[in-house]
Symmetry: C2
Subunit: 426 residues, 2 copies
């Protein structure tokens, strides 16, 4: 300690001159307060062997100080929590991977407990050989690994009517992004044989879960044979109960409701089943009362996660990291623009890594904040050439009746005091 303490003395003087400089200086300003601070210059009580050894937590949890980084639901949003949703705390996360422990949940009749030994998956309908697989059978087929986002079609749905939920967790938190391991659905369908189905162009698969809701959905054969996965692991380990343990469907880029959990049956059919989940639900009601149907793909979208209402700016003006997430069900994110003046001017954000197909992309914009209010927006572009629309543009084409597929540009009003609010700008 002595050595490093001596080290501080000259530095503190040098520092006060340097602090005048903008930018880096402002950061150093934070450092100035800390210089000579006993927290760095004196031996602290935690600098002693603790009783906490490696066998303390065979399976670890976040430290107590992070107890606010959890899934949350909105009580008034749905009648009961059984068929309800909760939200990923995206305002407090960084990077792109979502830990399973705080990845949003949505189920229609509660999360069920299903043992691997009791698990069965039936493939029937227009196949050469209807089959029933055990969990162990599935483990014997060639596996794939892919990182994909899963977004609920109703994510940001409450915002159609106006700026309502005050935080990125609640406006955009029905999304997560994990590395899945599993077997391609194509492999299992080919195992059962598709000759009996004849021309595959007009064929569908109907997928059901083992829970009470069954949450049945129809998927066109073209998608089923493309990139759909029958997944048993997420981020390296078994799926969590609330995410469909032991097996769920992964339908890359398509609305989360089709990612059937506790996957139980896959039937090859001549037509869509037109189940509750794809008729009265998960269709977008337009201005004239008619419905947009088969709106499976989640269009390009982005949101600034920090600063945001749950992640205010606590320091003063000077260097500020603006960060957020972008994604597209049509391909890879190619760019994200950020505006601090409600869309009048745009700056290109830095992507932490090149966008990959149907996965979250993290973006950053490092600015010198002048301490004045900002109207923060982000706008995503994807490999199909699609550009994320404004809320006004979306309302013009789809009206106000829908609660699904709202991918509009989000605005956070960041005030001079650093606090942020969910607002709309015209």
């Amino acid at each position: 300690m002595t050595e490093s303490f001596k080290g501080m003395k000259p530095s503190r003087r040098q520092f006060l001159t340097g602090a005048a400089a903008a930018g880096a200086g402002a950061v150093a300003a934070g450092a100035a307060k800390a210089a000579g601070d006993p927290l760095i210059t004196e031996v602290q009580e935690w600098a002693q062997a603790t009783g906490e050894g490696v066998d303390a937590t065979p399976y670890g949890l976040p430290i107590q100080y992070e107890s606010d980084v959890v899934r949350r639901n909105v009580e008034w949003l749905t009648a009961d929590t059984i068929s309800s949703i909760n939200f990923t705390p995206i305002h407090a996360l960084d990077g792109t991977i979502t830990p399973q422990g705080c990845a949003f949940e949505r189920h229609h009749s509660g999360a069920i407990e299903l043992k691997k030994e009791d698990y069965r998956l039936m493939i029937n309908g227009l196949v050469d050989t209807p089959l029933v697989f055990t969990y162990e059978d599935l483990e014997r087929f060639p596996r794939e690994n892919h990182v994909y986002f899963c977004e609920c079609a109703a994510n940001t749905g409450m915002e159609w009517a106006g700026a309502q939920l005050n935080g990125a967790q609640f406006t955009h938190g029905m999304i997560h992004n994990m590395e899945y391991s599993g077997v391609s659905l194509r492999t299992l369908l080919e195992e059962a044989g598709l000759d009996a189905a004849g021309d595959l162009k007009d064929k569908w698969v109907y997928v059901e879960g083992a829970d009470a809701s069954s949450n049945g959905r129809s998927i066109p054969m073209e998608k089923a044979l493309d990139d759909v996965l029958v997944a048993f692991k997420a981020n390296g380990e078994a799926l969590r109960k609330e995410h469909g343990y032991p097996v769920r469907l992964v339908v890359p880029g398509w609305e989360g409701n089709m990612w059937v959990k506790w996957l139980r049956r896959i039937e090859v059919t001549n037509q869509a089943i037109e189940s509750r989940e794809e008729t009265s639900k998960y269709t977008d009601t337009l201005e004239d009362g008619t419905s947009r149907k088969w709106t499976w793909v989640m269009d390009a979208k982005s949101v600034v996660t920090s600063p945001s209402p749950q992640a205010p700016i606590k320091h003063g003006k000077g260097p500020l990291v603006i960060t957020g997430l972008a994604w597209s069900g049509r391909g890879a994110i190619t760019g994200v623009d950020v505006s601090i003046d409600g869309g009048k001017n745009w700056q290109e954000a830095r992507l932490a890594a090149p966008g990959t197909d149907k996965a979250l992309t993290r973006f950053y914009l490092d600015i010198e904040w002048n301490g004045e209010e900002m109207f923060l927006q982000s706008r995503a572009r994807d490999s199909s050439g699609y550009v994320q629309p404004t809320k006004a543009e979306l309302r013009e084409t789809r009206g106000l009746n829908s609660i699904y597929h709202n991918n509009c540009i989000q605005t956070w009003w960041v005030k001079a005091n650093g606090e942020a609010e969910n607002v709309e700008v015209s």
Copy 2:
């Protein structure tokens, strides 16, 4: 249910003929047992609304049936668990991302609890302006995101003497692979200014942690300015206490001991400090008693994670997925070869994704197992042209005195009954 049950009847007949076929047939054999199984044909008790809603687990944990997928330590390996290690259950994981909850731990004086508010990071020594940063200061610098493996130098160390630990978790489990978010060390060093250091070629940084051990290590300036990260998040969320909350050093491709946790001080020096951790520890003692020093880089290595002693083959002959992990501290994995006859013949494994720099790569080999014993090996190749050596080759050059940097080819003896053992083949 009726519909799908009817579906099974003809299929069962068709099926028994089909079962004769090899390969796919053998998988179907598993399916045969399940056909007409009430677990798929009858409504089950879990097909009813559960009381378990979305607010049941604000931060979720694995389902009870996965309680064996946890970190484990080996009691005889070290005197006490405080300064001990535990191992990642790699035999039970798939993909490449390691969940923080089961990522191995190694600390020298216990895992400490350090609040963000109490956190300070000092940069001193040969810098223009010694600085002390708060956690909030660090959040104001431009951030990066990278996936890197972290391997303890002693991983597989017990195997120098012979085949000892009976499971991939224990022989190769001192490794994890996460997506880190943080600030590059170069950015912070440049903030303090390196003009005072003069010629950087012969300079070092000495890094210390806030725990009692301090675990001080010297890092050449060239590496410090290359890809070292001052990280505060892993897999999107805050570091776990046992992984250095709130801030740890990430030294890509280099031995885990240098990834200083609870990072407290970075001193720019004229020479290496020659601390305990880099002299009496973490050096490789050779046959003649002299030591290999500065063995920082973790060479290319791989291991079959399944089948393995903790992951035996439970089904009979026929389709079998052989899978494992490969990594290199010198770059990206370019290929992995697998042998089932103890290294006499090799087949090229399938990489789940192209290898990336200093990160885990998942490989698969899908075979028709004839039901006879196998001597399973994997051999990694990296972008530097390096090929993973045999244990004999390693012993020839380094003898038997070391416990560090054992990256030799591992052999699992898989018996006809599907059980596996850790063995050596000559």
